[in-house]
Amino acid sequence: MAQIELKLHVPEPAARPGEDPDFSFLTLPPVDEARRPAINAAASHTYDLATAMIRVLDDDGSIGGHWDPELDAETKRAALRHMIVTRLLEEQFMLLQRQGKAAFAMASLGEEAVAVSAAMAVDVDSPGYGPGLDMHFPTYRQGGILVANNHSLVEMTCQVLSNAGDRLKGAQLPVLHSVPECGFFSISGNLATQLIQAVGWAMAGAIQNNRIVGVGWTGEGATAENDFHSALVFSSVYQPPAIINVVNNQWAISSFQGIAGGTNASFAQRGVGYGIATLRVDGNDLLAGYAATRWADERARSGHGPTLIEWVTYRAASHSSSDDPSKYRPAEAAKAWPLGDPIDRLTEHLVVIGDMTRNDVEELTSESRHLVDATVAEAEAIGTLNSGPAMSPVEMFRHVYAEPPPHLIEQRQELGY
């Protein structure tokens, strides 16, 4: 047998800066291809969906296939509004960072449908559900959950500005929110650590027989962390009411998804290895995202166990305010992304079904822009990172323990407080 050269294989993305974007690796199946199994189907009856792609919105704005969530027009319009507000608000966050008014910023540009559809589909107030709380354990790119769950935009902005209105009192980097009343767990900032916490939350619900869900989030890059493995093993073993979301936005800072192993198998396929129900969904299709999450949510709440969902999307934004994507990928890549833009796609659909005119959408965008501008003005009036009323140094010591132990009291007193 002929021997091939033995060498280290280091995956490379299809295109680098200066080259034409190349997404030929992505297969776009027709909308009616993916089956919709019953919510109580055996996990093994979902495995073909780990390589399929759940789609509802077709390129021409029509809808089809087996996964149409049959949302009423009002809900669709609300979803469109949540995505537009998320985009405009995060655009302002990036601007505030560049102006030196915020320490840091991140945006979910191009992948707003992911957080918005999931937030709307995890129906935390469904009648008949027991006590306890549903909880998302988001990453920094799911701020859309807060927008969709009607959290105060001013409060979100104050957190980004680390001003006196920040409910976290400057303890956490901008956009690492914590909003329990919106089912939004405190974001750590460490990667993938909170997937297993979401599973623990779901296990607690099962232990207490509370009909809740724990919803974990990670990017595709952090699936390489050992906590991803822990989360899937514990999900497989204890069958808790958990949803594990892997947002495959193709890029982990400058590393393309192949560096996390994505070129050899889909991220959804990792669920198959653990015997967990798995779905792979068009992440820029709000209706598909809603339908997939709703399926996993109902499955979990009715005691049929966890689901892993891979969201195929594209990070049109930079990773954060600290990097320049033109250094590691083609500048025009986001525009060439075959799954399009989530806001444009839902807009097209609402126009095609005659629910909104293009003028209506422009008006909605303009209203949203006014809302966001007013929000930022109101938050900035409270203060920014470098202006406004100073936070008391006492805050630094306040929440380390329930009761400050003697050594912390001493250190606080040394500081003069």
């Binding site: 709307m120 935390v124 107030d125 006590p131 306890g132 709380l133 909880m135 354990f137 969709a148 769950n149 009607n150 409910r167 976290l168 009192k169 303890a171 956490q172 690492l176 914590s178 329990p180 009343e181 919106c182 089912g183 767990f185 405190s186 750590s188 460490n190 650590t193 909170q194 997937l195 297993i196 916490q197 979401a198 599973v199 623990g200 939350w201 779901a202 296990m203 607690a204 619900g205 099962a206 232990i207 207490q208 509370n210 724990g214 050992n226 906590d227 493995h229 822990s230 989360a231 093993v233 514990f234 073993v237 306040r398 929440h399 380390v400 323990y401 329930a402 132990p405 003697p406 050594h407």
Partner: protein
């Protein structure tokens, strides 16, 4: 869609009892009135317990009182743990409250963080402290910081138990004392009992504590006190007064050291196994030392330490962990900062050497009574 008002209602009260969970407060209050520290213990009916049985009893008492308390770890369910500290809990309280976990320390701690935030009171077992490191990120970056980074909107009342220390021919994978890796982390409390009585009282206090507590169990003390004389017959807890453990609920408060032997010539700061080594060294040298068993390393009972050192003017610090950057360094700094004008001799540390814990040379590595005795003589004769 979420209705903020509903969530606010749930989260504005005690988040940790936000779900329909029963706490038998009447029993709790009754016991608290009955028992504080000191005289109350003497009137309680007691049993002879090993440290293993005392730990098991503490968990069982709390599981019976509070259905939020659950226990889990590798082999900790059906089998009751490799050291038997959770024996019978599954049979008594059911599989949903006492269960085996996959061999995944990050999974054990990470899921416990989620459960604690939800409102349960997890008592997680790490089979040996030496295996804690895959879960260390979850302890340091997650459990310890959840309260501060969320301005107390989320909390993490969990206990992570783990056997520590050597003297059992366990080699470098079953003998480590990583306490300083925890005391260095803001947001954690670190507890290390030296006997069955303290183990039960401190563990109950740890389970009731609203913050994450690392509960270190010196495994050489599980079945009896150990003074470092490895060549002598083993003494069981049944023949030691500290093997008398009150039945039912009582606490030993966190953050309070125990002056186990009053003395005038030198203060010995010890914890865990080294408490008994110190007692043996004091007896063998005839030096009138004051021995303090710290019991809780963080928060540290600085008051008891400085009161003693100001009285004796001399201080020896002993621990089994490696010396450099060990907890003894912190103790030495505290004493120097607060008692400098009272010190009549340099502070001396007796600790494990800065090597991995050897199996073949275990008794060379272990800071036994001879080494501690030498340090005591050195410090009391310093002029």
């Amino acid at each position: 869609m979420c209705t903020p008002s509903r969530h606010l209602t749930s989260s504005s009260s005690d988040r940790n009892s936000g779900t329909d969970m029963v706490v038998k407060k009447d029993v709790h209050q009754e016991a608290e009135e009955q028992i504080s520290q000191g005289d109350g213990y003497a009137t309680m009916p007691s049993k002879k317990f090993t440290m293993i049985q005392a730990i098991r009893d503490a968990i069982a008492v709390m599981m019976a009182r509070d259905e939020r308390v659950i226990s889990f770890g590798e082999d900790a369910g059906f089998f009751g743990g490799v050291f038997r500290c959770t024996e019978g809990l599954q049979e008594e309280f059911g599989k949903h409250r006492s269960f085996d976990t996959p061999i995944s320390e990050s999974g054990i701690v990470g899921s416990a963080v989620g459960m604690a935030a939800y409102g349960l009171r997890p008592v997680a077992e790490i089979q040996f402290a030496d295996y804690m490191y895959p879960g260390y990120d979850q302890i340091v970056s997650e459990a310890a910081r959840l309260r501060s980074r969320s301005a107390s909107e989320f909390t993490c009342p969990l206990v992570i138990r783990m056997p520590v220390g050597g003297g059992i021919r366990g080699g470098q994978t079953h003998s480590q004392s990583p306490e300083a890796l925890f005391t260095h982390v803001a947001g954690l409390k670190t507890v290390i009992p030296s006997n069955p009585f303290d183990a039960k009282g401190l563990l109950i206090a740890a389970i009731e504590d609203p913050d994450p507590v690392i509960f270190l169990e010196p495994k050489r003390l599980y079945n009896g006190p150990f003074d470092g004389h490895h060549d002598r017959p083993i003494q069981p807890w049944s023949r030691h007064p500290l093997g008398d453990v009150p039945e039912g609920y009582f606490t030993v408060p966190l953050g309070k050291a125990d002056v186990v032997r009053p003395g005038s010539e030198v203060t010995v700061l010890a914890y865990g196994t080294l408490r008994f080594v110190a007692e043996a060294a004091v007896e063998e040298t005839g030096i009138d030392a004051e021995i303090i068993d710290l019991r809780t390393l963080l928060p540290l009972d600085v008051e008891t330490i400085i009161t003693s050192v100001k009285k004796t003017g001399r201080c020896v610090i002993v621990h089994e962990a490696t010396k450099t950057s060990g907890f003894g360094a912190e103790l030495s700094a505290q004493v120097q900062e607060r008692c400098f004008d009272h010190l009549e001799a340099p502070i001396v540390r007796v600790a494990g050497y800065d090597t991995p814990y050897p199996v073949g040379l275990e008794w060379v590595y272990f800071p036994g009574p001879d080494r501690v005795g030498d340090a005591l003589r050195q410090v009391v004769t310093y002029v």
